[in-house]
Structures are given as structure tokens and as C-alpha cells.
Symmetry: C2
Subunit: 344 residues, 2 copies
Amino acid sequence: MASITIIDIAKMCGVGVTTVSRAINNHPDISEETKAMIMKVIKENHYVPNNSARNLKRSASKTIAVLIKGITNPFFNRMIKVFDKEIQRKKYSFILQRVDDNQDEIEVAIELEKEKRLKGIVFLGGNFSHAKDKLEQLTVPFVLSTIGMTPGYEPHEYSTVSVDDFKESYKMVDYLCKLGHRKIAIITASMADVSIGRLRYEGYKQALEDNGLELNEKLVGRMKENIESYSMENGYVVTKELLESGEDFTALFAVSDSLAVGACKAIFESGKSVPEDYSVAGFDGLDITFYYNPSITTIRQPVEEIAEETIKVLYDLINKKITHAHKVFPAELIVRKSTIEPSR
Amino acid sequence: MASITIIDIAKMCGVGVTTVSRAINNHPDISEETKAMIMKVIKENHYVPNNSARNLKRSASKTIAVLIKGITNPFFNRMIKVFDKEIQRKKYSFILQRVDDNQDEIEVAIELEKEKRLKGIVFLGGNFSHAKDKLEQLTVPFVLSTIGMTPGYEPHEYSTVSVDDFKESYKMVDYLCKLGHRKIAIITASMADVSIGRLRYEGYKQALEDNGLELNEKLVGRMKENIESYSMENGYVVTKELLESGEDFTALFAVSDSLAVGACKAIFESGKSVPEDYSVAGFDGLDITFYYNPSITTIRQPVEEIAEETIKVLYDLINKKITHAHKVFPAELIVRKSTIEPSR
DNA sequence: TTGTACGCGTTATCAA
DNA sequence: TTGATAACGCGTACAA
């Protein structure tokens, strides 16, 4: 069944296509009555404009795209809601694009920019280590949200909005140290990681050092490559190994809340308890840390603020008010039931 | 900066646009060397075809779309992965479209169908109560996945793949009854719900009846409209009310796992414990039910199978092997630590 | 094997 | 306030 087009509508109304187009797009130069008449015919015939044709013709649409790598992350859900709200408030429309783990987000972005005539792009998640010439193909402004600074780039070449992963991670480990823990294990990203996993690990190292503790490689758990990263399962498996290694520790810092949940489970299964035998701390501030039993000590990222600021920066970029920006938000250490003083 | 087009490439290569098009789309009628040469030029100039133009021109693309209402649901994440895999296996491409809570998924579908020349559509989540004439505007086959039968439609008018929400819910409540519970509370959808929330509630009622128990309206908790549906927070708030109402119960059946987690938290905060004071059961089979402390008894939906079958049905629909189908998968009662015999 | 020319459905330009 | 018409960038008959 051939779809009905703008031409069909024009014929049915006895007007030119231009007029129909005007009616659809709320153009000023059209009388109220012809517009009403046209809209009525459109409704009756269920005419829906073809977006491909619109995008093709339109020189610039007011749409911005959010590319997400790793949609699994519950952390992003709240951000998306804020994006949606903020973008609508600015009368822009909003496209959410999932980027597969084995897809290159920049390539997706380049394609999308042409297809949808984007005004701006937000990148969420992922490592973002890209060749420069690729990045230069992006002609619209973009913001890296909750993605740490990327080594190898000049700060003026891109914009970011995030927390200081190093500092916040330091804060947490320092808190554990001050609590009296001297054997603090960590679950972090694989060696290759250059993004937040690395930064949080560095914070851990520095905090240990500043507290006069030596780094014990045996207490550094790395996420499994073959299991979904930052997942509960990964935390579970790595903690099991840590526990079975025989290397003693009294506290465990997981670089994400989901990892922390998995860690708790592993500890329970070994017949031990949290926090009596092991203190466990997470990072991100997911809802589950509040609902878990025991509730989990974590670093709460100000998700809403980060999302809002991301959009704000993007608009400033679009309107050329700025050329780049690196906004850093403070995160909050939330002490809950999963961490206490060491018993041994 | 004006984007580079296929014409530019043709000129640079000294060939016609057709030839370039052939190179891009792997058409047979082109010599290997010219193709290689063209591809090289394309690479060097970072030429990316404009998708809008392609979609506009293409009569039919091999793409299918998955529309999700309520992307928050972690339940869908695993399904999406399977969709992705299965669709790629059939050499189709795959679009994920998030549908806002206040958006009409059918309207989104209609628009998308035209824009992308879809071959088929999968609807995930939502209530799916739509006027018939709207549904008829969809000219491509579609499948409702994990969405229960919708009253008001003839079974041959649409296709579904899901579990039998009524039966599985019955199974869970029956299990609780057999355990000896006689005061079983439920957290379910609001009265208005016509979808899974309703079906699961009906299963609850029937199981009570068959076990000689009377329905106590005071033990029926309804999700709050102003809080995200099926969320931990909703379960938490509703359970608090239930607890404070003074109406005694020994078991609580939450119609989703997230609700169950929230319920457990509320119980802990009241100074009681799970399962000693209250047995708690969920529904869906999310990972968190395994990782929670105590682990939560649930009904595990065979997510992967459902997703696979959804795609299979959709392809059969596309290839006109069938006109409609209603596949129902059995779900599994997984008994964990959160449910025991009543202590009172 | 290659190239020319037209059309996909829409919006912008310009003239009426 | 309207309408004819030229793009937008690509794929594909059809001709060469």
C-alpha cells in the first residue's frame, strides 16, 4: 500500500503543496481557515510526513542526539530523563542512540549528524579514546558527560561534565583508612582501561599512600573481560576469587555500586557478613545502595546536576558562547551500614 | 562546512555516481579495481552516505525496529541483546526506539515505519490499548513481546510472545499458600491497569480462592501513580503503608522484582526481618533477586527464549508464513531464601 | 562494465 | 496569502 504524500493532501484540498507544508510546520504566512481545513484533511487521511524527506531537505533541524555506550547502566536512566526534560525546555527535539559495545561511537555520531542535521551531541559512557582526525569530522559541538578527561587530547579540543573520579575515589578510600582499615581490597577495571576505571584506581592508590599504607597487588581485583563490565556478576566473581586467594582484607572498595552488590553476595556465600567481617563500599549512588541489605556506603554522583549542566554546556557551545568547558561536580560520600571499623 | 556527497566522490574518481553507489552497496556489476579505488577515495575523504537520502530512495530497507516503553526496566536489557543478535543473524539491521511514557507508541511506530521503511516492529512494554483504526495504519507486521493479551482485540489481529502472567502469578501465590501462609498481601498495579499488572492480580485472586482463602482488600497494595511504576521506590512506599495499616500478613507477593526489593527494605526499616517475619516474593527473575540479601523467591521469565521467539514470529509474519501467533512460554518458580513457612 | 537522468517526499525560494 | 519549482543526496532504470 503506497503511502499518502503531501501531494495527495494538496490535491485533496485543492491547494499547492507549499500551503500544506506551511500548515504542517506552523508557518506564519497562511490563513487560519485554510490551515484548519488542511489539518482536518490530514487527520482524516492519517497523513504522516516522511521524516527522511524532511531531514534531507531541512538545512538544520533543532535536534540534539545523546549517544549511550552501555545502556545497561542504570546510572544513565536518570540522566536520560533530565536530558529529555532540559532539551524539551529549549524547544529542541531529542534522539537517543544506543551504541553497541563493539561499535565506534564517533562513527555513529558522524553518520547521525548528517542524517538528522544535528545541532549537538552528548556522549554518555564508554572510554572515548579516538583518533583525532575522526573527531574532527564532527562538525557540531559535543559534550562528554560523566566521561573523565581523556589523555592525549588538549583540554580545549573538547568539553566534559563529570565528577572528579580520582578525587572522589580518594575520598572513599581515605574514609575507609580513617575508619581504621589497613587492608583494603579494590575491584576495578582491567589494566587496559584508560577511563573512569583507571582514575578511580589511581585515587585508591594515592589514598593508600597518603595514609601510609602500601599497595598490595594481591588485593587488586580486576573485572573479568568476558563478563559484562561493572556488573553485579563481575563483582561477584572477582570477590569470590579475592576471598579464596587467602589474602586477608577488612574492607573492599568496588568502583561501581553494582560491583559492590555482587561483592556482598560473594561474601555472604562464603559464610561471612557485611560489615562485621568485611566493610564494602561502592561508587555512583544508585538506588540499590539504599535498598540493599545492608545499605551500601557509596559516593553519590549528582546525576541531575551533571545532566543539566551537560545540556547547558552543549547549548553554550552551540550558541558559540564558549569554545570548550570542563565542569567538575563534587560528589557526596554517603556513609551507610556496609562500612564500619575493622574487627581485626 | 558543506558535506561531501556522492557526486563529489564520483568526480574525484572520474567515474559516474552509479559506479560509486555500486561500490558502496556491494553491487556485483563493478570491477574489483575500480571498486577498490573508489573505496580508497571514500576513506580518504571521510565520505559518509546520508541516511535520509538513502531511506528516502530505498523502497524497502531490511530493518526492523524495537519500540520500548519504559526503558528503565532492567528486564528489557537482556532482551535487547538477544534481539540484536538474532536480527543481525538474519542480516537485518535494528533500530531501538525509546518511547516516552506520555508518547503514543503506535504513532511513533507509524512515523518510523515511513521514515525507515521498516520491515517489522517489536513492541516491548506498555499497556497497548489502542484504537483499532490507529493500529490499521501500521502496514508492516508487528509483535507484542512480554505484553499480555489485550482485551478488545480479536486474537487474529495481532501477535504476542509472553508468559502466561495469570498462570505464573497463580503459581507463586499457590506456592505461598501451600507453604502455609493464610494472610498474603500483594503489591500490584493501579486499578486502571489492563495489562500484566491486572493479569498478575487476577492470578493472585484465583489462587487465594482455590486455596480457600478470602481476598482481603486491605492487603492489596496499589502502586502509587506519582512514583515510577514497578520501581523499588514504589514497592518501598506501598509496603510501608501496608505495614503501618496494622493489618497483619505473613507473606507479600510483589508483582515485580524491583517492587519486592523495595518491600524488603521497608520491612527491614520497620525492625522486622525477611523471611522470619514476612516472606517476600517477586516476579520476573531479575539478577538482583539472586544478589539480594536474602535472595528473593521469584518467577523467572525465560527472557532469552521469549526474545528469540519474538524475532522468529516476526520473521514468519514478514515472510507471510503465518498471519498471527500467540506464543506462551512457561516461567519457572525459583524458590530462594526470602520465603519460608509462616511463623504465626 | 559504466554513465545519464529521473524520482523519492519534503521544504525553501521566488514570483504572483 | 498563495503556488510553481528547484533543490536536498541517493539509488536505479535504461542506455551506451
